[in-house]
């Protein structure tokens, strides 16, 4: 069964990798005017424009361009940025670690803190429980961009304990790298933590209502083990799928957060490319985003299969 799950995921992933770039091509083709216009300006002569079109390969039919691109992509060549001339893959290689630092950091914080809070509070129906319920809603409601601005104002500008913007590479200074990620991760993870805490709490409450929990207690198993070994293990199965969704949500949020904190990752590069119509870069980033999402989904599927013995053992 696990094999089936993975096989299915592979099929979807391959489909995505084919479709998303194709989609970018189609959308690009719908633009009035094309890249050559933007590069040369309308005052260019027809000869100049034809030459540039030919040079950029823009005079081919769409499907030919797509296939050419696909062929190059499979060799690792994603073309060059229309504006800097740099190879897109080079840019992607420098943006990816930044985004991954942010995304993985945010997801880790979300999961660890959220699950801990949710599990610990599962027993309490009184004040703590209601607090968590309220906070979880707050987490969704507070817009992450607004939170980011407030965080910067409070921690970086007023109290000056954390850097306001910028990214330090881990190879330069591990500590600075960590510090530069604290505020962005908080801004990104805030909504997630509260959602995961609530989900965990809800799932735990469900699980704690179940027969086998009662039996474990009845036969003398320590309460700590009941909650953190048995209940949490059972509750984590649906939570794992939530984590997958969270990551994808974080991806969307990272675009805004990277912009605010000036982290040179895929998100800020994407916005730059979008506003300057730099299509090769947009295409490259779309593919990378898709790859990240695919990887996360595979990991989630595997984790789900591993956690759930009914899937694992068949």
């Amino acid at each position: 069964m696990l094999v089936r799950v993975i096989a299915r995921r592979v099929v979807i992933s391959v489909t995505l990798l084919v479709i998303i770039p194709a989609l970018t091509f189609v959308i690009e083709a719908l633009t009035p005017g094309n890249a050559a216009d933007f590069l040369l300006g309308v005052s260019a002569t027809p000869e100049q424009r034809a030459a540039l079109n030919h040079q950029l390969g823009l005079d081919q039919p769409l499907w030919v361009r797509y296939l050419t691109w696909m062929g190059r992509f499979l060799h690792g060549d994603l073309g060059n940025s229309l504006f800097t001339g740099e190879p897109v893959s080079q840019g992607l290689a420098s943006w990816l670690p930044v985004s991954l630092s942010l995304l993985i950091g945010a997801t880790l914080v979300t999961v660890v803190v959220g699950v801990a809070i949710g599990a610990a509070s599962a027993q309490h129906t009184g004040g703590i429980g209601r607090l968590i319920d309220s906070l979880s809603v707050l987490g969704i409601a507070v817009p992450n961009f607004w939170l980011a601005v407030v965080l910067v104002e409070v921690f970086a500008v007023t109290f000056r304990i954390l850097p306001a913007t910028g990214y330090v590479q881990p190879q330069d200074s591990l500590i600075e790298w960590g510090l530069s990620l604290v505020l962005p991760v908080v801004a990104l993870a805030f909504a997630g933590v509260t959602a995961v805490a609530k989900q965990t709490r809800d799932q735990m409450k469900d699980v704690l209502d179940r027969d086998f929990i009662r039996n474990l207690r009845a036969n003398g198993v320590h309460e700590r083990s009941v909650i953190y070994r048995h209940a949490l293990r059972n509750a984590s199965i649906p939570i794992v799928t939530v984590i997958g969704q969270l990551f994808v949500g974080a991806l969307a949020g990272s675009v805004v957060v990277e912009n605010i904190f000036v982290l040179p990752g895929l998100g800020s590069a994407a916005v730059q490319a979008a506003t300057s119509h730099d299509y090769p870069v947009i295409q490259g980033i779309s593919v990378y985003f898709t790859l990240i999402v695919i990887a996360v989904n595979v990991i989630v599927d595997i984790a789900y299969g591993w956690l759930n013995p009914q899937v694992r053992s068949l």
Binding site: G33, F38, T84, A164, T165, G166, Y167, F261, P264
Partner: protein, 522 residues
């Protein structure tokens, strides 16, 4: 609000790149540190934008873009803050033949950072390359040919008189930032590394593109005394608040500042250096009324001038770091006419009256396009648009996100009015750009015959001389009285710097803060 930087330029744009200004105040600057210079270790400064390209021919100009080129590439002609010039890679230069021939002598014994020599050939090759591919190649429109007339002598032959070459070839004009001949022949390399003869060189290993650019001292720079630092790092910090926070925490030592942050910067113990950087306002390209016939009428254009509360608007958009203006150059610079400062006092009634007289009692509609890079940005445009609403002139805004979008739209011919920043250069530069039938910002080709004669005279004159200045003042009077455009504010540049950084100085005649001049004080 403050628009920090120029968006990406298209490589062969037909319009001039705009000098990037940020806001600063006339009456609020603290004296820059002028202690004795001592050798410094690392200077870290912030730029709101990464360079368009490290290739000096493809980068933009203005601050902070020019910093990326200025650190590594010594220009032919060095312009000082007070608008005097000093020898750079060229030791002397002169015009002849009625401003149709420009000759310069090069400094002997200069080596580029890749070890090759500075020769006339290297200069010629670069100028030719610039003519083909450079961002501001249109500045060289009058260049018929450039030749090496000696091993260290370069001669420019112009097809029509152009007195502005000492400006094109200075550190800000961008044409004069000469790379080695080998680099000019392989321009792709210049996108990621530097090959100049300037005080610093790019450390490609330590540089993270779009994040931080590291420059180390160039051991072969011909003027070692002026290399004040072992290392200069330019960090990219796009957000004003973030830059200020970085300044406060000591992460960086200098950055261009924003008017709204100036008080906070002072409170934090930073130096605030502020001078008039340029005039902002709106340029009426449609003076011939091709799109909006009303604009042909002098009374209409004057009404547009009367309808703006320059005092209130300046205060709102530029805070105390700007002053109202009605003309195209600030006080103390060439072309400025004191009398013109009272040409259009704020008077809504009069504006409405003029409109009615011209036959537009109910106003009309104009398409106002916002140029990226103009200080005040969309705030300026929104404010002016709202002022004109009061007299019935409806001015919806179009704000393209990038400069290339702006170019495409403007050349498409649908816009007659654009926000604009009037440069610091000699007034003739503006006159050509705005009022020559082929001027880059005269995108609807409006004709102003009265100015043509004046311009021709100035083009052939000895720029900077009293005679030339008188001519420019005549031109200024004409331009203002005929309401050819709507200048609104003299906006300031502001630089925030740490107290121990000296040499942060600039003037309205050359408001270009240049980090190569900054040093550590004892």
């Amino acid at each position: 609000m403050c628009f920090r930087s120029l968006a990406r330029l298209s490589t062969l744009s037909a319009l001039a790149a705009v000098v990037v200004l940020t806001l600063s105040a006339c009456g609020g600057s603290t004296a820059p540190s002028s202690g004795k210079a001592v050798p410094g270790d690392t200077l870290t400064i912030a730029s709101s934008t990464p360079p368009i390209s490290l290739n000096p021919a493809l980068n933009g100009n203005g601050v902070p873009l020019m910093w990326f080129a200025a650190l590594a590439y010594e220009p032919l002609i060095v312009r000082n803050p007070d608008n005097t010039t000093s020898p750079g890679l060229a030791t002397s230069w002169k015009y002849s033949d009625g401003n149709k021939t420009f000759t310069l002598e090069l400094r002997p014994g200069v080596k580029f950072s890749d070890g090759s020599d500075l020769t006339a050939e290297a200069v010629v090759k670069f100028i030719q390359y610039y003519q083909k591919s450079g961002t501001f190649a249109f500045n060289l429109a009058s260049l018929a040919s450039v030749t090496a007339t000696g091993p260290l002598e370069v001669t420019f032959h112009l097809s029509s008189p152009d007195p502005l070459y000492p400006y094109y070839l200075d550190e800000e004009g961008a044409v004069g930032n000469i790379p080695s001949e080998a680099a000019t022949e392989n321009p792709a390399e210049m996108a990621t590394a530097t090959f100049g003869a300037g005080p610093y060189m790019l450390d490609t290993a330590a540089t993270v593109p779009n994040s931080s650019y590291v420059y180390t001292a160039n051991p072969t720079f011909f003027d070692r005394a002026h290399v004040h630092w072992k290392k200069i790092i330019i960090k990219i910090i796009a957000d004003d608040n973030a830059a200020l926070a970085a300044l406060r925490s000591g992460q960086i030592q200098a950055a261009l500042g924003d008017a709204t942050d100036a008080d906070a910067a002072k409170a934090a113990g930073l130096n605030v250096t502020s001078e008039v950087g340029g005039m902002t306002g709106v340029v009426i390209a449609d003076r011939d009324g091709k799109i909006v016939p009303a604009l042909k009428d002098l009374r209409v254009r004057q009404a547009l001038n009367y309808a703006i509360d320059r005092v209130g608007l300046t205060r709102a958009v530029y805070r105390s770091y700007g002053s109202p203006t009605m003309q195209y150059k600030p006080a103390g610079t060439d072309g400025y006419v004191a009398a013109m400062d009272s040409a259009y006092p704020y008077n809504v009634t009069k504006a409405k009256q003029l409109l009615a007289e011209a036959g537009y009692p109910n106003g009309f509609t104009i398409q106002l396009i916002v140029q990226p890079g103009v200080p005040g940005g969309t705030l300026l445009a929104q404010a002016m648009s709202q002022e004109w609403e009061q007299i019935g002139v409806h001015a919806p805004l179009t704000a393209p996100a990038t400069f290339s979008d702006y170019v495409a739209k403007v050349l498409g011919g649908g816009y007659g009015v654009t926000t604009y920043v009037y440069d610091y250069q000699p007034f003739i530069w503006e006159l050509n750009e705005l009022f020559s039938p082929t001027g880059v910002y005269n995108f609807l080709g409006a004709k102003t015959p009265a100015l043509d004669a004046l311009r021709a005279q100035i083009n052939s004159s000895d720029l900077g001389s009293p005679a030339a200045n008188a001519l420019e003042q005549q031109a200024m009077t004409y331009a203002v009285q005929n309401a050819l455009s709507v200048p609104v504010s003299a906006a300031n540049f502001i630089v925030f710097s740490a107290k121990n950084i000296g040499g942060v100085a600039f003037t309205p005649s050359f408001p270009i803060p240049d980090p190569t001049q900054w040093y550590l004080t004892a």
